[in-house]
């Protein structure tokens, strides 16, 4: 029996207060995610239950109970307090998926500070703009990332502390660097959680838009209500589950459902800190008896590429429920998973801004392969006419996916960017920037983005950021960036560039530009193809016609080109 039971019944009379009751939270009381994910679970008699099963790329395995994560969160929180970190200060996590990342997340929240998780593959420029924007006061990292941090530290006056959790005593520390070893620090048994309230800020994730710099999406402690109930009803987490969320906590899935959802329910979760390999993933599931698996379409398509025969080498009978997030899950992947695992992947749709799952295929509900599913109970989800912004009533018509604001995990602001935040709302609807249609049974069907943002492997990349970075390459005069189709990642980045006089394109230059962007921004933003052009198509007012380049890559109609600049 699934946790949600009947979806139709739950939709009828759902109130968010039902989730509050599960968590024994009452309006106006203290609510602290760090405390809910550790102390409360211990108080419920699960102190000795395994909270985290960790395996590193080198095969090192570690296990931590809920009491361990409570103590480690306290120890890190106390260390930060002694440094003078106060509530609402931003503390960045920039590290691999190691246990310290998870403990730090809890510790930072427990002292009332704001966690700013950043993907460890970010290059120095990507890192800089996000730390500068948030005026981050401290960051917790590993020594392997110091080269990147030292490049930008002088430009970040607000950044006071670089806390290195694996410092080698024989090495010299540079300015602002502090070493901290969890193993060498006495554990702190009691640490009072900061009395955060529902609207106290908690997590600051960055996301990319079509233009401008990345936006800091601010969430609050009350988001727990949504994350808890969606983890329970959509991911169907149950007491004896071994849960594996494959997302990196540098992204919102890795925190909402890689930390908060499961741990607030007292669920054991498994972490594999290693690059993707189909064989290693199946082995990990078998070894840890993973029963609930939350992954991404890109990973699923990579597993499909590895072939059906490989699956037969492993005992994956522990798998009970599968779900997916990040980009649309194609029907072939759903059918494939039913064939090889005996269970379908359940697609879920949500965003950094929504903070929790909004549309989903629920356990027990009829799955239409390729469909996003239906809105979560309590969520008013519609598709809007792109001109009038009124809900479309006619089944099958394409419109903008929108939600009526008011669910607990809804972002509260874009950090220091009220204008951009305001632009996300029209006629009282929150606009997701995605397009879909709804069929006559209420199922949503994803169509695509409503803007130029590139969704590659479930991660959003801003064409503007890549175009700007390309202009910093000495030989590049102009640049335009669009997506191109990709079998595994759905979309990848493609760049068009013109060169300054005196430069001639060649294959070495193409590779050099690719690596330049990878190091400056991230591997996700690295163009997987670069086309050298004599001229970038622009409108007469000088705006790059990405639409034209995009249409060419996707084999679509070019449409109106009356505004195209003439020679």
């Amino acid at each position: 029996m699934s946790n949600i039971g009947s979806y139709e019944e739950k939709v009828k009379d759902f109130e968010w207060s039902a989730a509050e009751e599960f968590l024994e939270y009452k309006d106006g009381e203290i609510i602290n995610i760090g405390w809910y994910c550790s102390d409360r679970i211990c108080l419920k008699g699960k102190a000795d239950k395994i909270a985290l099963k960790y395996e590193g790329f080198d095969g090192v395995e570690k296990k931590f109970t809920f009491n361990d994560i409570r103590l480690n969160g306290n120890t890190i929180g106390t260390f930060l307090r002694h440094l003078g970190i106060r509530n609402e200060d931003r503390v960045c996590l920039f590290m691999d998926r190691i246990p310290e990342l998870y403990f730090s997340f809890l510790g930072i929240l427990k002292i009332g500070a704001i966690v700013q998780p950043l993907f460890s593959a970010f290059g120095d420029e990507s890192l800089f703009v996000r730390l500068e924007n948030a005026q981050t006061r401290a960051m917790i990292t590993q020594r392997k990332y110091l080269t990147r941090i030292r490049k930008i530290i002088d430009k970040l006056p607000y950044l006071e502390f670089i806390i290195i959790i694996d410092h080698d005593d024989k090495k010299q520390l540079s300015k602002k660097e502090i070493q901290f070893s969890l193993e060498k620090t006495p554990q702190v048994n009691e640490m009072a959680a900061f009395p955060t309230r529902a609207e106290s800020p908690s997590v600051l994730h960055y996301t990319s838009g079509t233009s401008g710099q990345p936006k800091g999406v601010l969430h609050v402690h009350y988001s727990l209500i949504s994350q808890y109930i969606t983890a329970k009803w959509v991911l169907d987490l149950q007491e004896n589950d071994n849960y594996w969320c494959t997302a990196d906590p540098g992204w919102v899935t890795g925190t909402s459902y890689g930390i908060i959802g499961p741990w607030s329910m007292g669920i054991t979760q498994c972490i594999l800190d290693a690059g993707f390999s189909a064989q290693a993933w199946y082995k990990f599931i078998e070894k840890n008896q993973v029963s609930m698996w939350y992954s991404s379409p890109t990973a699923i398509r990579s597993l499909m590429k590895a072939g059906d025969d490989l699956v037969k080498n492993f005992d994956l009978s522990s798998l009970r429920h599968l779900a997916s997030v990040g980009e649309p899950l194609n029907s072939e992947a759903v059918i494939w998973s039913e064939r090889v695992f005996g269970k379908p992947f359940h697609d879920t749709f949500w965003q950094t801004e929504t903070g929790s799952i909004m549309i989903s295929n629920f356990p027990g509900m009829k799955i239409k392969p390729g469909s996003m599913g239906k809105p979560f109970p309590g969520i008013a989800g519609v598709v809007l006419d792109p001109v009038s912004f009124e809900p479309l009533k006619e089944p099958g018509k394409t419109g903008l996916i929108a939600f009526r604001p008011g669910w607990p995990a809804m972002m509260r602001s874009y950090w220091s960017n009220q204008l951009k935040y305001n632009e996300k709302f029209v006629n009282g609807w929150y606009l997701t920037g995605d397009k879909a249609s709804v069929d006559n049974e209420g199922y949503f069907w994803f169509i695509g983005r409503d803007d130029d943002v590139i969704n590659t492997g479930g991660h959003l990349v801003s064409p503007f950021e890549v175009e700007s970075a390309l202009l910093e390459y000495p030989a590049v005069a102009e640049s335009a960036v669009v997506s191109k189709p990709d079998d595994i990642n759905m979309e990848v980045v493609k760049a068009f560039v013109t060169l300054k006089p005196g430069h001639i394109p060649d294959q070495d230059m193409e590779l050099d530009i690719m690596n330049f962007i990878r190091k400056k921004l991230s591997s996700l933003a690295m163009p997987q193809e670069i086309e050298f052009m004599d001229k970038i198509p622009k409108t007469r007012s000088g705006k790059i016609m990405r639409r034209l380049l995009h249409a060419r890559e996707w084999g679509e109609e070019i449409g109106d080109i009356s505004t195209l600049e003439n020679d």
Binding site: K144, G275, Q279, G457, Q507, L511, M526
Partner: protein, 86 residues
Amino acid sequence: MEKMDLEEMKDLVLKYVIKEYMEDEEAEVTNDTPLISSGYVDSFSMVSLLVFLERKFSIKIPPSKATPEAFDSVNKIVALVNQCMS
């Protein structure tokens, strides 16, 4: 391209990997060091490594062979390159 022996090929690939992907100056990298599983080279970065290999050795690596497992160390990469050359 001049004909290289196996050791020269390994040397060339190792130097490229260190130059392009190893920002951690303390990391000791050998021909057996895991590259993909360790996270030094992620699946997106694999594309630039693949482009380098195809151009340097004038080969075409079929997508079915460009797997994370085949790219997981310099030794494995050179074995794949050799396979694609023959």
